[in-house]
Each structure stands twice: as C-alpha cells, then as structure tokens.
C-alpha cells in the first residue's frame, strides 16, 4: 500500500527513503531544461496551510507543486477565521469539505499534522510541527549529503545548536542514522536534552566535538522565539562558545569539512559572515534540493502514481512504528 501522508521520518523505512532520494535525482534533472514543468499532478489541488512563518519551505513546496502542474492554494492564516477564534479542528472540517488532494501543513504544535491527516481524506505533508518533525527538510539534507558522499555510510555529521527546540535535528538525525550516517549533537547543556537517543553522542564542548572528527558540521538556527526562559546568557557568548567563528572556520577549511544549515541563518550567531564565501558550504544546495525532494514526495503520495519509476516503489515490511 502506498502511503497517504508524510508525517515523520521515524516511521519511514529505509527503502522508502532510498526511493524518494532516487526520485529526487530524477526530478532534479528537469531543472536544467527550458521547460521545467511536467503534468504529473495535473488536476490535483495542493493547499498550503502555514500557521508559522516560512520562506524556504513554503516557496519550495509551492514551486514543487507548480512544477508538477498542481493547483496551489495558499491558505492565508492571518486573514482567515482563525483570527476570529476558529479552532484548528473547525478549519480542518472546512478544508475537508473543499476536497483538496494535498494539505501541506506547518504548525507550532507537535502532532497537529497527524491530527489533520486522521480527519481528512487529503494527503497531509508535515512541513514542520513544533519541535517534533520536519521530514522533507531531513530528506533534502540527506539528498544534499548524498550528492557529496554517494555512499554516506560511516560518515559523521555533527549537529550544532538548539537541539531541544529543533524539529530539524530530530528528523535529520533520525534519517541519517537510517542511512548509516553517524550523528552527534553539540550545544549548550540547556539546549541538548539528555533524553535524546542513546546512539547519538552529546557534546557540550566544541573541541571535544571536533575531536569526534565529523565530516559535516550542521548548524541549527538558534530559535529565540521558542525559548520561554533564557537558555544561555546572550548571543555573543553563544557565538563565542558554539558558533563558527573566523578562527573555527579556518580550522574547518583546513580539515575540508562541509557546512550545512537549514536556514534562515542568524549571522554572527551560528555562523560568521565569512561562511557565505566558504567553498564547502552546502547551504544553497540544500535550498535547491528542497524543490526536487518535495516534488518526489508530492508525486509519491499521489494515489495511482504518475511519475516514471513509481511502480518501482518498494514493497515489503511494514514501516517501523514508534
């Protein structure tokens, strides 16, 4: 059975992940053509339901859907009845009545996309829920890594920053581990929860983390908006202790490490300005790859399938359930 929704990475099995990454490669080849659009989702409707601000993810999904010829509707939360006190559940009932084919949802509450998925017939794609999951970000990260390391098994990714509030850290580390990549966390003790998976080493000291010899350093945005209390004294201190400073960038360059970041970057906090010119920064690659990954996901969830290769979709064991 094909999946109806993409809600998390945790329940995806490896064959599904490999399939989506392969499909993304195929879709990316379209980008060099003069006409980038294919009719895979012609007649389908995609509703963009973003309760939280977003530039990259929102536009990436929109571009992906349009390149597959879907009709895209942007649900304007700020001008909807939500501002009149309508609950999410009432909104869902309204949306269900509209018979949209896909709902791409981002919300500050963990688990909410799953709730929408249970209450609608539409395919629901989680575009980020609270501090829970951001599956398409994880897929595009893995795709970006595989472009540099076609066989990423045994490679090491050091994720630095606000792990506690990061859905990216959860999804990306889960996915990379499924692909055989080693992952470690680095950050202030107040932002790297001790309850994370035991298989992920947890560092609070930059030098100790670098001694773990990562191949990629993956910086997370410090999410000041999610911090209800102070987790570290100030951003200047954060940059000094955990940020990629000019001197650390020199060390990273010497070691030939790649740098990734899901954006948007807090300049001078996670990364110094010079990173923008760093030849092994993969930040723009991540943005570009977001489109092909999201095309692959939208196509994958389409009942009946459209794009070539769909019938090669792996079957077999049930996805791992939490």
């Amino acid at each position: 059975m094909a999946r109806k929704d993409l809600l998390d990475i945790a329940s995806l099995h490896r064959e599904e992940i490999e399939f989506l990454l392969d499909q993304s490669t195929s879709f990316k080849k379209l980008f060099t053509r003069s006409v980038k659009k294919i009719p895979a989702l012609e007649g389908k409707s995609v509703l963009m339901l973003f309760y939280e601000a977003s530039t990259r993810t929102h536009s990436s999904f929109e571009v992906a859907a349009k390149r597959l010829s879907a009709e895209v509707t942007n649900f304007d939360v700020d001008h909807s009845s939500i501002t009149k006190g309508e609950s999410v559940r009432e909104t869902i009932e309204t949306l269900q009545a509209m018979r949209t084919d896909y709902i791409v949802v981002r919300h500050g509450h963990s688990g909410l996309p799953g709730m929408i998925a249970r209450q609608t017939t539409a395919s629901v794609i989680n575009a980020g829920d609270g501090a829970h999951e951001h599956p398409t970000q994880a897929l595009l990260d893995a795709f970006t890594i595989k472009e540099k390391f076609p066989d990423p098994r045994g490679k090491k990714v050091l994720i630095i920053g606000d792990i506690l509030h990061s859905r990216v850290a959860r999804s990306t580390s889960t996915l990379l581990q499924k692909l055989g990549v080693e992952v470690a966390y680095l950050g202030p003790g107040s932002l790297v929860p001790k309850y994370g998976p035991a298989t992920i080493p947890r560092f609070t000291d930059y030098q100790a983390a670098m001694a773990w010899t990562p191949d990629i350093v993956y910086l997370l945005r410090v999410q000041m908006e999610r911090q209800d209390v102070q987790f570290f004294p100030n951003v200047r201190e954060y940059h000094r202790v955990y940020g990629i400073t000019n001197s650390r960038l020199a060390e990273i360059r010497d070691r030939g490490l790649y740098i990734m970041h899901p954006g948007p970057v807090n300049r001078g906090v996670e990364l110094c300005d010079a990173v923008m010119d760093y030849e092994r920064s993969l930040i723009t690659n991540q943005v570009e790859n977001g489109i092909s990954i999201r095309m692959a996901v939208l196509d994958w969830l389409t009942p009946g399938g459209n794009f070539r290769g769909r019938n090669r979709m792996p079957r077999g064991s049930e996805p791992t359930q939490r």
Partner: protein, 425 residues
C-alpha cells in the same frame, strides 16, 4: 428487606473474604451469618462468588458545576460515581465562579442535595479565585461543612500566603490539599520530561516540579502545625519524599494516588493520544512501580481518581491544545480490580481501606462496614464478569478516558445506600 445469599465479605481489616448471608432491613444490616433463614417477604439476591464490600468514597473529583456544565453536572457526575461503586465524593473548587466563599459553596451544596443521589461534599479555595493572593472566605465556608482547602490545579505559589492560610484555618479544624507543581518548571503541556517528550517534541515536566512542592508544602504544614494532604502523586521521588516526612512523625501528612498513575506510563501516549494527557503527567514504569509500593506500604492513605471530564470536542484537539485530565469514576473500581486485585498485586482489604475507609476518615465522616447494626452502604462486585466501557455504559457526561471501549475483568452489580438500591445490573 434484602437478603444477600452467600456473599464474600470484604473489609479493610482482613485479607480473608468470609462467605456469609447478609440481611438488610430498611437500610440497616440486621444479620450476618452462614445459612441464615430467609425472612418472609425478603428479596433474595444470589451473591455466590461475588464480593460485598463497603462502598467507595472519592476525595478528588471535578463536577464542573457551576460554570462548565457542558462537561459535567452534579447529577451526571454523581451518577458516574454510582456507576463505579462510589457513594460519596469531594468536589474540587475550580468551578466558575471558584468556590471561594460561603455563597458559592452554599449554592453548590444546595444543588447537590437536590440533584445527587449520593452525598456530594466540596472543598473550598485557599485564596480568592485561586489567584494565590488574598485569602478566600475560609471561616464562612467552614460553617457550611467545608474541611478541605485547596487552590486545586493552581498551586498556591507564594509560600507566605499558604503559611498564613494554614496558620489561620488550622484553628478551625480544616486541612490543606496540595496539587504539587512548580508551573515555571512544569510548562503547560502535561507530559513527563523524558524520552517520550523528546520524541514527541513537546516540552516535558520534570518530576522535580512535583517533588519541590511536596517538600515545600509539608515543611509549611510543619511550621504552621497544619495537616496537609498531598494530591495525586505521580513520581517515585515524590512518594519517597512523603515517606520520609511521615517517618519523622512531626507533621500531619496524608497523601493520595490516582489509579491512572498506577496503571499507565508516558509510553501510552503513543501517537499523541489526548486520553492520556493529564496533570500531573503519566511518568515511567519505575514511577508506577514506586507508587504501587507506596500504596501497599501506606505512604498513600487513599486512592482518588481526580475525575476530570472534558468534552469530546476539547479532547479531539491536538495534544498541545487539548485540556488536561481524564474521567475516572465510571472505571475506577473495575480498573483497580483488573490491574491489581485479580493479578494478586494487592487484596480487597487494601481496596476497602484505601478507597472506602481512609478517604472518609480524611473528611471526618463515618466509615461504613459490613457489620450488624450498620447502615448498608455497600457494593456487590462480580469478579468473574466483565465490563466493557462503551460510551453508553458511562454515566459521566464526558468520556475522556483511556478505557473507552476496553473490556476489563470485574463488574459492579449492585450499589446500596441505606434503604435505596442506587444501581443494579
């Protein structure tokens, strides 16, 4: 006249169930013994194999009236209690308006007299509108019989306010019930801080949020010479804190545990199931094990459900938005039997002691027993039958319980209160 033939009688004082006939005349137990002659005109109930026990009493329920009658009313709440084998309850004061004055308490008690078939008592607030600032109308509420003071889900945050309240109200023979939580540590989401909260991406509540207030409130009670009752303990270290204070013997402490904290862990939340969202939150198996140990040992004087009804609409929201709490009255006795008595973890004597006798002692009420000369206030329980907790079965207005549509071993067959049969299956 009611003649219960061959019932197995449970009491708090003996683990042995003695098989006897019991004759009840005009609500009073007239005779108990083997092979009693059946009086003429008596209604005979064959109770062979079934357990006859004193009816339960729940010292921690939310009946939501006034203010939230869409969730529960005194009528539906008390019917849920009867459905579960319970013949007396103590309401919490977090209604709207809050029960912080003689006027509001009088209204509730008047309603209860008219609308409930069982005695419904209420606690009163420590502070006005549970705001933790000004003392509530404590003496006025006492004149109406209020004994328990609590700001319920809102821990009285200022220790000076609570200390003064304790010093003041202890003079009137009142005691304090504490919902133990440092809100700044606990956050609003009612999920244990641990592997599960990390996995679900929701801010967790560490057990220290509970432990700190348990310790604080007992220390305040000691300083004031007051009696403090610690409500719905959820953590191992919370239990051990109470045990330690009780072992010192220089402060009057009682404590309760809720059935759900004995039976479920945060793992049960699974895919954001809001029927497992409650405050204090479900914790780990190690905590459950410690709470059971504390119950058997007597660290917990009583079992109370924290019956907390919410409408289906509210609970159908996402986990973060949905309100805390589950209903407990309809399911309490059967679930305790299914999870603990039937598997042999504790006996009927513990159920009677902790869920019938001690809660009434806490409230200064007479304790029903199955003895000649006593008023009949008892439950006949079938240990072989099963109960399926369908929505139709529940008498609570809300059905936010993890047991919904589950079938458990045991069934409440008969509930008697004096001359009235409140329930018969």
């Amino acid at each position: 006249m009611l003649f219960l033939q061959n019932a197995r009688i449970a009491s708090e004082n003996s683990p042995v169930l003695l098989e006897s006939d019991v004759l009840i005349v005009e609500g009073i137990i007239q005779d108990i013994g083997s092979n009693l002659a059946i009086p003429k005109g008596a209604r005979v109930i064959d109770a062979r194999g079934r357990v006859l026990m004193p009816a339960m009493f729940d010292a921690h329920v939310h009946f939501r009236a006034p203010g939230f009658e869409n969730k529960e009313t005194i009528t539906t709440g008390s019917e849920a209690a009867i459905n579960g084998g319970i013949t007396g309850v103590v309401m919490m004061p977090n209604t709207r308006p809050a029960l912080d004055s003689a006027t509001s308490v009088a209204t509730v008690l008047d309603n209860a007299k008219r609308k409930a078939r069982i005695p419904v008592y209420t606690s009163g607030c420590v502070t006005k509108d549970r705001q933790g600032k000004e003392l509530a109308e404590i003496e006025g509420m006492r004149t109406l019989g209020v004994k328990m003071l609590t700001d319920d889900g809102d821990t009285t945050s200022d220790p000076a306010v609570l200390l003064r309240a304790m010093q003041y109200a202890t003079e009137f023979g009142m005691f304090f019930a504490s919902h133990c939580e440092v809100p700044e540590l606990a956050g609003p989401r009612a999920l244990n801080e641990g592997v599960m909260s990390y996995r679900l991406g929701i801010k967790g509540s560490p057990t220290c949020a509970e432990e700190i207030i348990i310790d604080r409130d007992i220390r305040l009670a000691r300083a004031a010479g007051a009696h403090v009752h610690i409500q719905h303990v959820s953590s191992k270290l919370g239990m051990e804190t109470i045990r330690w204070w009780k072992s010192r013997g220089d402060v009057k402490v009682t404590a309760e545990v809720a059935p759900h904290h004995l039976m479920f862990t945060d793992e049960h939340i699974g895919d954001y199931d809001t029927n497992y969202k409650m405050n204090p939150p479900l914790r780990t198996q190690a905590d459950c094990d410690a709470l059971l140990e504390g119950l058997i040992e007597g660290v917990f004087d009583l079992i109370a459900t924290d019956h907390a009804p919410h409408t289906p609409f509210e609970k159908a929201q996402d986990f973060v938005t949905a309100p805390n709490g589950i209903t407990g009255l309809d399911t309490a006795l059967v679930s305790l039997y299914h999870h603990f008595v039937e598997p042999g973890k504790f006996g009927w004597d513990l159920v009677v002691k902790r869920y019938s006798a001690e809660p009434r002692r806490l409230m200064g009420l007479p304790v029903p027993t199955i003895e000649v000369g006593q008023q009949a206030e008892c439950v006949l329980f079938d240990t072989e039958a099963e109960t399926t907790f369908t929505r139709e079965f529940m008498k609570s207005k809300s059905q936010n319980t993890p047991f919904i549509d589950q079938t458990l071993k045991g069934r409440v067959d008969l509930v008697i209160l004096g001359p009235e049969i409140l329930l018969e299956r």
